[in-house]
Amino acid sequence: MRSRCAAATLLVALAVSVSAEDVIERVLADLGGEPILLSEVRLFERLKRLGRGAALEALLDERLMYQEAARLPQAVLTRDEATAACADLAAKAPELASDPALCALARREAVVLKYISFRFAADEGEEGQTLNERIEEWVRDLRAAATIRYNAGP
C-alpha cells in the first residue's frame, strides 16, 4: 500500500514536472516603442548579479544611454572595436558566450563608453562633480525625457 502511494505520488510529481510550462520570453517594459524583453533582463541579471527589478531598471538606463550615444558619429564603433567588445564580455561570462544577445549588449556598452569618454572628456562639468555623478545626472535627464511603460503580469 505504501509503495503504491509512493509510486502514485512519484507519477503525479513527474506529470506535474513534465506538464509545467516555463515562460522563456515576454515583454517586461516598453521604452519609447522598443520592447525590453525578459531574456535580456535575465542576461543582465546574470552578468551584473542583480535582482529582477534592479536588472530591469539598469537595462532601461543602458538602453537610454545607448540611444543617446548612438546618435553621435564619434561614438560609432569600428569593426575591430566591436569584435573586441564582444570578445571581452564573452571572456568575462563564458557560460553566456553562445547567446548573440551578449555580443549585442557588449557592442551597446562599448558605444556608451565611447560616448562618455568623448562627451565628458571634452566638457569639464561643474566643479567638484565626479564622473559618476555626472553620468547619473545625465541618466536622470534621459529618464525624465523618456516614455517608459512597465507591463504588469507574472
Partner: protein
C-alpha cells in the same frame, strides 16, 4: 535557469501553438518564424517576440515552453494592446464624446497607453478652458471590453465663466470709441479666450490701418472664482502716428506701396524697416541700377514718427550690345540687348556658358561677364576661356569578382562612354547611378570611387569607377502594423521588397510611394528594424487607415432644371481588399441620373483593375425627352513605361421620345442608338503633365465593335491619335498632333454611316479650330483625318502665345478619304496658365474658305487643344 538549459541543450521544437483568434493565427505565424523541427534558440524566440510586438497589436507577447523527452512545445500567448474602440464621457455633460475625440485628436484604433491618455486629457481640458470652463479638470482612463478599449473621460467642468465686464484701457476719447465696438466677448457672454484674443488682434489691425503701425493690444483677465466671472481689459498701447517718406531718387510706386504694407503689417519694427529697404533695392536692381541702395531712419514728428527711406538708385545699366570673346554661344544667355543689366542674370549666363563648354568636353572651362563701370547703355562682354577639349579614351566599371555575380546590374545607360567628351558632371551622375544600383541591390554601405587619368596634353581621359560593395543586407521579415480592417495582403502586394530578398533602398522608397498612393491608407512609412540575424534587417510597414466612407453632396440651380441636388456615397476597402463601391444620384424637377460603380484593383491576384459601372438617366428637355441606360465592364492593365491596356464590354441604349422638333435639332448624343460589344484600347502616355505638357508624347489606339447579336447597332470603329511635345528653343515648345478615325457598319445592303452619336466629327475648341463645334461635316462621317501643329511661346511666367495650324477633314465613309480634299486653318492664340490648365483664347482663320462659310472663328476655353 531556463535560459541556461536552453543554451546547454538546445532542444528541438516539436510544436508551435499560438493562442490567438483563429483568423489571426496564420498571419501571426509568419512573424514567429519558428517551425517544428527547428532548434529552440533564444535569439530566434527573441526575434519572434520583437516582430510580434512591432505589429503594435499587443501589449505583451508571452512565450512559454513545455519540455518533454521528444523536445519543446512552444506556446505564444498575446495580451492585446488597448486599442481605442469608443470614447465615453462621464461627469459633467458639457462636451460630447465626438467633440472630446476631436479635441484629443484620437485616431480610430490607436493604442491607449497611459502617456497618450494623459495628453488626451490635457487637450480636452484645454478645449473646455477655451469654451469658458476655466476650472475644468479632466482625467482619462482606458477600460477594456470585448472588441476593444474605451477611452473614458471623467470631467469636472466647474462653472461656465462669464464676462462680468469688458473695457478698453490705455486710451480714451476717440480711439476708445473706435475700438469699443470690436470688444468680444461682451459682458454677460461666456468667456472664450480665443475670441478675446481675436478681438484684440482686430483692434490692433484697425489701429495699424489708421496709421498707428506700432499699436499693440493686450488682453488682461481678472478672474473671480467665487463669482465665476472674469473681467476683461483690452489694454491698448496706440503708439505714435506713423508715415513713410521716400527721399532721393524716385522709387517705383508699386515698390513704395509694398514697403508701406510691410511696415504696417510688421509693426514698423527694425526687421520690417530692413525688409522695406531690401524691397526697394531689389526693385531698382531689377531695373538695371546695379549699385542701388536704400537706407532708413526714423524722424520724430509732432504727435508721431516718420520713417524715411533715402534711396540712391545710382546709374542704370542697359545692355547696348552682347559680345563674346572666345566663342559665340549667344543663344544660351538670357541677358538681352535693350534690357537692364542685372548681376544675377549675368551670373546665370556665365554658369550656362561654362556648362555648355563643359558639355563639349572643356572640363576646365572658365567664363566671366565684363560690364563697364560707367552705367548707361553699355556693351556686355562674355569672356570665355574654354581650356583643352578632352575626350574619354576608355571607361570602365570595376567590381570585385566575388561581388560581380550577385551584385547589382549596371544601370541601363551610363553617360560616360569612350569617344565622347569627358564631362565631370557625367562622371558624377554615373557614380551616383551606380551607387543607387548597388544600394538598391542591398549593398547599403556600397561606395563608388571615380578615378580619372588625364593624358599629358589633357586631350584624353581614362575613366574608372571602382565599386566597393561592402556587405549585402537582406530582408529578414516584413512586419505590417496599423491595419484594422484592411487585409495584410493588400499592403504586401504593393511592396517591392520581399522576405529573403535584398534590402534595396530604391525598392523601399518605391514601395512607400505605392502604399502612399492607396486611397485606403492615410499614412504609410517603411522603417528598417535591426535583426539579430547577421546581414539581415526587418522592414516595418507602419500604416494608418483612412476613413472608408465618404459622402459628397451638392445643390444647384439652373434655368432648365431649376433646383437640382446630388449625392455621392463611396465605400472604400470593401472586404478589407481595397475594393471601392460608389453610388451617385442626381435629381431635379426635370431630370434624374443614377450611377453605381465598383472597382477591383487586383483582379485574379494581378495588378489588373476591374471597373463595373451601371447607369440610367432621363430628362425632359425642350422639344424632346430621352432615357439613356447602360453598363460597362472594363479591365485596365498598367504596364511600365506609361502604357495602359484597356479591354471593355459596353452596353448603352438611348431612347428619344416626345420629339416635338425636327430630328436634326436633337443633340447628337441624344439620338436613338444602341451600342453593345467589346472594345480594346492601348494608351501610352509619357507626358510630364497632362494639363500643361512640356515634353513627352501621348499615343492612343481604340478598336470598338458593336454587334447586332448582342443587341447593338452593328459597326466596327477604330480611332488612332498621337501627340508629341518638345522644346525647340529655350522658351518655345512645338506640339504636334495627328488623329485618324476609320469606321464601317456591316449587315446592311448598302453603305451606311454609323449611328449619329458614334460618327466622327471635327471642328471646335479642341479639334479643328477654323470651324465651329462639329462644323467640318455637320452630319458626321465614318472617316476622320486631322493633324495639328502648334508653336507655344512663353511670353511671361503666366502668359504664352501660340501659332497654330489645323489640317484635315471628315468623310462620309472611310473609303472617301482623299488627301486632296484636306481643309486647312491657321491662327494665333493667347494662354494664361492656371492650376487647372491654361485659359485659352484662339483665333483661327480658314485658309480655304468656301463661299457660304465664315472666315474665322474665336475659341475661348480652358485647356489646350491637344
Amino acid at each position: 535557469m531556463i535560459l541556461a538549459l536552453l543554451l546547454a541543450a538546445l532542444p528541438a521544437v516539436t510544436s508551435v501553438r499560438l493562442e490567438a483568434p483563429e483568423r489571426d493565427v496564420e498571419r501571426l505565424l509568419r512573424y514567429v518564424g519558428i517551425a517544428p523541427g527547428d532548434e529552440l534558440r533564444p535569439e530566434r524566440v527573441r526575434d519572434a517576440v520583437q516582430r510580434l510586438y512591432a505589429t503594435g497589436e499587443f501589449e505583451d507577447v508571452v512565450v512559454s515552453v513545455r519540455e518533454d523527452a521528444s523536445g519543446a512545445q512552444l506556446v505564444f500567448r498575446f495580451v492585446p494592446a488597448p486599442r481605442l474602440a469608443a470614447v465615453r464621457v462621464e461627469g459633467a455633460s458639457v462636451i460630447s464624446p465626438k467633440a472630446v475625440r476631436r479635441a484629443a485628436r484620437f485616431q480610430s484604433g490607436e493604442p491607449l497607453w497611459p502617456p497618450r491618455l494623459d495628453a488626451a486629457a490635457a487637450q480636452v481640458a484645454l478645449a473646455l478652458v477655451r469654451k469658458g470652463y476655466l476650472e475644468a479638470r479632466v482625467e482619462a482612463r482606458a477600460e477594456r471590453r470585448p472588441g476593444g478599449t474605451d477611452a473614458v473621460f471623467q470631467l469636472a467642468s466647474g462653472p461656465l465663466v462669464r464676462v462680468s465686464r469688458a473695457s478698453i484701457e490705455g486710451t480714451s476719447g476717440g480711439l476708445a470709441l473706435l475700438l469699443e465696438p470690436l470688444i468680444r466677448p461682451r459682458a454677460g457672454k461666456a468667456f472664450e479666450r480665443a475670441v478675446a484674443q481675436a478681438a484684440a488682434e482686430r483692434m490692433r489691425a484697425r489701429l495699424a490701418q489708421g496709421g498707428r503701425w506700432r499699436a499693440a493690444v493686450e488682453v488682461r483677465e481678472a478672474y473671480d472664482p467665487a463669482a465665476g466671472r472674469v473681467a476683461l481689459s483690452f489694454v491698448v498701447t496706440p503708439g505714435p502716428w506713423m508715415r513713410v517718406d521716400f527721399r532721393g531718387d524716385a522709387a517705383p510706386a508699386k515698390a513704395r506701396r509694398a514697403v508701406e504694407t510691410l511696415l504696417r503689417e510688421g509693426g514698423a519694427s527694425l526687421d520690417a524697416r530692413e525688409a522695406g529697404a531690401e524691397r526697394l533695392e531689389e526693385t531698382l536692381v531689377a531695373r538695371g541700377h546695379r549699385n542701388a541702395s536704400a537706407t532708413h531712419r526714423v524722424e520724430p514728428l509732432p504727435g508721431g514718427e516718420r520713417i524715411v527711406y533715402d534711396v540712391d538708385a545710382g546709374p542704370a545699366w542697359r545692355c547696348a550690345a552682347l559680345r563674346f570673346a572666345g566663342g559665340s554661344p549667344s543663344a544660351l544667355v538670357k541677358t538681352r540687348v535693350g534690357e537692364p543689366v542685372r548681376d544675377a542674370l549675368l551670373d546665370d549666363d556665365v554658369r550656362a556658358l561654362v556648362g555648355a563648354l563643359e558639355a563639349d568636353g572643356h572640363f576646365e572651362a572658365r567664363a566671366e561677364a565684363d560690364v563697364p563701370d560707367t552705367g548707361g547703355d553699355v556693351p556686355v562682354t562674355f569672356r570665355l576661356a574654354p581650356g583643352p577639349r578632352c575626350l574619354v579614351e576608355s571607361f570602365s566599371v570595376e567590381t570585385p569578382p566575388e561581388a560581380s555575380e550577385t551584385g547589382a546590374a549596371l544601370p541601363r545607360e551610363l553617360r560616360t562612354r569612350a569617344g565622347r567628351p569627358y564631362r565631370i558632371r557625367d562622371v558624377a551622375l554615373d557614380r551616383h547611378a551606380l551607387l543607387l544600383a548597388w544600394r538598391n541591390a542591398g549593398y547599403l554601405s556600397a561606395e563608388v570611387a571615380p578615378e580619372v587619368s588625364l593624358s599629358d596634353d589633357r586631350g584624353t581621359a581614362v575613366v574608372r569607377l571602382r565599386v566597393t560593395p561592402g556587405e549585402r543586407t537582406r530582408v529578414d521579415r516584413i512586419i505590417v502594423r496599423g491595419l484594422r480592417d484592411t487585409r495584410e495582403e493588400v499592403v504586401r502586394r504593393e511592396l517591392l521588397v520581399e522576405e529573403g530578398g535584398p534590402l534595396g533602398v530604391g525598392d523601399v522608397l518605391e514601395s512607400q510611394r505605392r502604399l502612399g498612393a492607396l486611397p485606403i491608407l492615410e499614412r504609410a512609412t517603411l522603417v528598417e528594424v535591426e535583426s539579430e540575424a547577421a546581414g539581415r534587417r526587418s522592414v516595418l510597414v507602419d500604416t494608418r487607415e483612412a476613413p472608408f466612407r465618404t459622402f459628397a453632396y451638392g445643390v444647384g440651380y439652373g434655368d432648365r432644371e431649376k433646383l437640382r441636388g446630388s449625392l455621392e456615397v463611396t465605400r472604400r476597402n470593401l472586404f478589407g481588399m481595397d475594393r471601392t463601391l460608389t453610388a451617385f444620384a442626381r435629381g431635379s424637377l426635370t431630370s434624374s441620373r443614377f450611377l453605381v460603380s465598383y472597382k477591383e484593383p487586383y483582379l485574379l491576384g494581378r495588378r489588373l483593375e476591374l471597373y463595373v459601372t451601371g447607369f440610367r438617366e432621363e430628362e425632359d428637355r425642350e422639344g424632346f425627352d430621352y432615357v439613356k441606360g447602360g453598363g460597362l465592364v472594363q479591365t485596365l492593365f498598367r504596364i511600365r513605361g506609361g502604357r495602359t491596356l484597356i479591354t471593355r464590354y459596353a452596353y448603352q441604349k438611348t431612347d428619344t421620345f416626345n420629339v416635338e422638333v425636327p430630328q436634326d435639332e436633337v443633340d447628337r448624343q441624344f439620338q436613338d442608338a444602341t451600342i453593345s460589344g467589346p472594345s480594346f484600347s492601348v494608351v501610352q502616355d509619357t507626358r510630364d503633365d497632362p494639363l500643361e505638357p512640356r515634353r513627352g508624347s501621348f499615343v492612343g489606339a481604340d478598336l470598338q465593335l458593336s454587334l447586332r447579336a448582342l443587341g447593338g447597332d452593328p459597326f466596327l470603329k477604330s480611332y488612332l491619335q498621337a501627340a508629341s511635345y518638345r522644346r525647340v528653343l529655350p522658351r518655345t515648345l512645338l506640339a504636334a498632333s495627328a488623329r485618324l478615325g476609320l469606321a464601317r457598319t456591316f449587315g446592311f445592303e448598302e453603305k451606311t454611316r454609323l449611328p449619329l452619336p458614334e460618327r466622327f466629327f471635327a471642328g471646335g475648341d479642341f479639334s479643328f479650330r477654323g470651324f465651329p463645334t462639329d462644323g467640318v461635316l455637320e452630319e458626321g462621317g465614318n472617316g476622320l483625318l486631322l493633324g495639328s501643329l502648334e508653336l507655344r511661346f512663353d511670353a511671361t511666367q503666366r502668359f504664352s502665345l501660340a501659332l497654330f495650324s489645323d489640317l484635315g477633314n471628315v468623310y462620309p465613309f472611310a473609303s472617301d478619304i482623299d488627301l486632296g480634299d484636306i481643309r486647312a486653318s491657321a491662327g494665333v492664340g493667347l494662354r494664361y496658365r492656371t492650376a487647372f490648365g491654361p485659359v485659352r483664347l484662339d483665333w483661327a482663320v480658314k485658309l480655304d474658305r468656301k463661299p457660304e462659310e465664315e472666315a474665322s472663328r474665336i475659341h475661348f476655353t480652358v485647356g489646350h487643344a491637344f
